[in-house]
Amino acid sequence: MAENRIQDEGQDPSWVTNLKRHDEESPQKVYAVVAEYDTPGELLEASRRVRDAGYSKWDTLTPFPVHGIDEAMGIKPTILPWIVLCMGLAGGTLGLGLQYFTNTVFYPYLISGKPMFSLPANIPVTYELTILFAAFTAFFSVLGLSMLPEFFHPLFRLKRMERYTNDRFAVVIQGNDPIFERERASALLKETGGNDIETIFAPEKTAPIPAPVVGVSVIIGAILLLPPAFVARARFSKSEKPRIHIIQDMDMQQKFKAQFPSELLQELYGDPRASLQPVPGTLARQDFVEDDVWLDGKLPSGDYSAAFPEGFVIDEGMLERGQQRYAISCMPCHGLAGDGQGLVANRALFLADAIASGRANTGMAWAPPANLADARIQVQPIGEIFHTISYGLNNMMGYATQVNREDRWAIAAYVRVLQKSQGATLADVPAEVRAEVEQELVEARAAAEIVAAAAAAEQAARDAAEAEAAAAEQAAPETESND
């Protein structure tokens, strides 16, 4: 509390004492006449009087902004808001320009096909920089326009300053006012009810800046110049060394690298290779074989299995599945009947014919797909057929990755069906359905005859019509020339 405070608890630093001594010992001039007022109301009244007396270089000191003092003193509105406005606009422009140039010119970012520069995404930074610039300008404009900081001022010689930042008010009429006369100013202040009217003196010349301050400033300034100097040197010179990279943790990681022996692993396992070898007897998942026939159609001896894998049940459903899968994966080349006459094969043969007859000149090498009913394939064990489906042969690729194993066995079974159906006779049909099949055959033949007869009749009609048209054309040739 105020009562606890001790008067002047210590000595000023020597350079402050020196400055003060200079101030006190150099020739003095009148700085101002000061009067004290107890309340804001008295101050306002006094201010109006001083303003009306024609003074221009004068001021009032108040512990807080007194309402109405601007009008009472005749202070003109400050230009500060305009400075703030300009700098705010400058900040916004800078923010927008910064984003535009860095993200579209210096280092274009293409993200998800979005435009390089889109205003909505660039609003937040623009907004913040506008505020940042405006706010700092407001602060520094107060200081700049008020000529602050000003650590030495004649008014600080006034011991009463303590009251003017606490609970009292003062009017200061400065000595450099054109109409200033010490006695007149004092009398005016006295008239307005001012108390403790004092005259403050100021040295005519301000003290030189103390040598230590100059020295330290020069040294700091020189040190501050070093980084830009290094940058400038680096900018305009060439070096073969890589760039300085202080923390190299990304480049020098403590990890095992391929093709580099590791002492630690040598020590631990007697093997310096970073890729550790599996424990003896370990099998990778794909190396684990429980049933050779099921996996690739081969017996443990390496020969193809002549029988389907154990437990693989062949029934109508399975064959239908095989037929359906065959239609998806095999039919395009091998044909619906397995005779090697698929659409792809036919197209390829058409192109091959075209090349042979000189109608096309694109080179092509085409191994026609096999007729699955070929004697060569008829005698293959079922395991070989499965193996071919799985791993492919000649131009045919393996289907192991596209068709699952069970379906591949089903296709193999269906291939056997196709083989049987090619060149099959009525004798191959089971006795109980033979009559039905015969009946179907008879109906099919009858239907084919009807179709053939109809086609023949249609052809005859068309021929007759053409002949008639030709005759008509010969009869009236001038009709055509008139066109």
């Binding site: 107890d38 001021d59 807080f64 703030v84 937040p124 407001a138």
Partner: protein
Amino acid sequence: MSTTKTLHVEGLDNSTDDPSGRAPLILKHDYKSVTDAVCGVVENPKIHPAWALGFLVALGGLGMLFALIVHLIATGVGVWGNNVPVAWGWPIVNFVFWVGIGHAGTLISAVLFLFRQNWRTSINRFAEAMTIFAVVCAGTFPGIHVGRIWLAYWLFPVPNQMLMWPQFRSPLLWDVFAVGTYASVSLVFWYMGMIPDLATLRDRARHPLRRLAYGVLSMGWRGSSRHWHRYERAYILLAALATPLVLSVHTVVSFDFAVSQVPGWHTTIFPPYFVAGAIFSGFAMVVTLAVPARAFYGMKEIITVRHLENMNKVILATGSMVGYAYAMEFFIAWYGGNRYEQFAFVNRAMGPYWWAYWTMVSCNVLSPQIFWFKKARTSIPIMMVVAIFVNIGMWFERFVITVTSLSRDYLPSSWAYFRPTPVDIGMLIGSFGLFFTLFFLFLRFLPMIAISEVKLVMPEPEPGTTAKRETTPLETAPASSN
């Protein structure tokens, strides 16, 4: 000065609303006694044992925070509980929590200033200081969250050897600008408001070192009316600039979440909801700090019951807004018909973090409802309990938003339950150490109440009623010749 009729108030209760006049904001004080009361705290040569104890505890927390940061930088971010899918764990929760707290200061200084809410003058310095310190705590977490802290300069658009620039379409980068601007503008606002009071301290100082320190800080302020004119103009401009700023900061923080695709984050309600939550938590923190400080430093006549009651009203209003936002999130999840959004919210309330969700709802929505009653609004114990509940609840809100959404984000095979490590817990406690260290230093060395602004809302003394004049004039500097 205000010529409005001011009611006389018995005792310290100025919370009554008599329509025939204005209740006084400052009780039993004149200009000089306000200066003495506020400056006396700073000038008192004796260090109070309670202050020393509090400061040492806070300093211990700060030491722990620094030690843990060194540990983190030396080891890597694996010392935290953050892991896929919860890659944003406590560090981001703490960041959002502290940034939110940092909103009350500027709101009180700027928004209430623009609305001519004169009661702000007693608490604005205090709240602004709290803002700066909370933003310091907040800024620490993203700084260390980058892991390779020596590369943190990549956040800023500085020319570098890689010829690369930041990606300006990322909300995380907007955050750098928003929080950076907020921190620096708040600092300027706080400092500028303090210059006249620092000048008061300078003029009262008796020790040369003190005079030098406050002299440099006050920049030679003399209380000149010509300076005051520009100062007031700049202050209102700063308030007008800080108002949109304070609203934008937590909006941008909420963009960090809302612009992402994570269910539970990707909602348009986030910006207003975050801003309301920030004001809510900030006011709760101001009450938490102001109540003990006014009792301890004898400021009950300056920070009156009326001030506290007003703050509690703001807490009630913003707490209800936050409760509305919680309900609206659920409504939109249902109404929007997005199954993933619906899952995120059901999971929030009923999933593995149900305890965090219901802690948040009880602390943030239910506890402030007691402030509908005037007795509760003006009761010191009740307001302390509610304010602390709100602080806890608002931390949990950020936890709920960050962790529940991430822990069950997209692929169920990647879901995981987040658990903090002791380092996480230590850093949260340590951040309070940082905050309170700065706060205790502020109480000891800077004027905790805006002296010049408080005088502005005090009734003008009648001529002749001021303190008795000194009979002998104070000694003036010797005038030699002329």
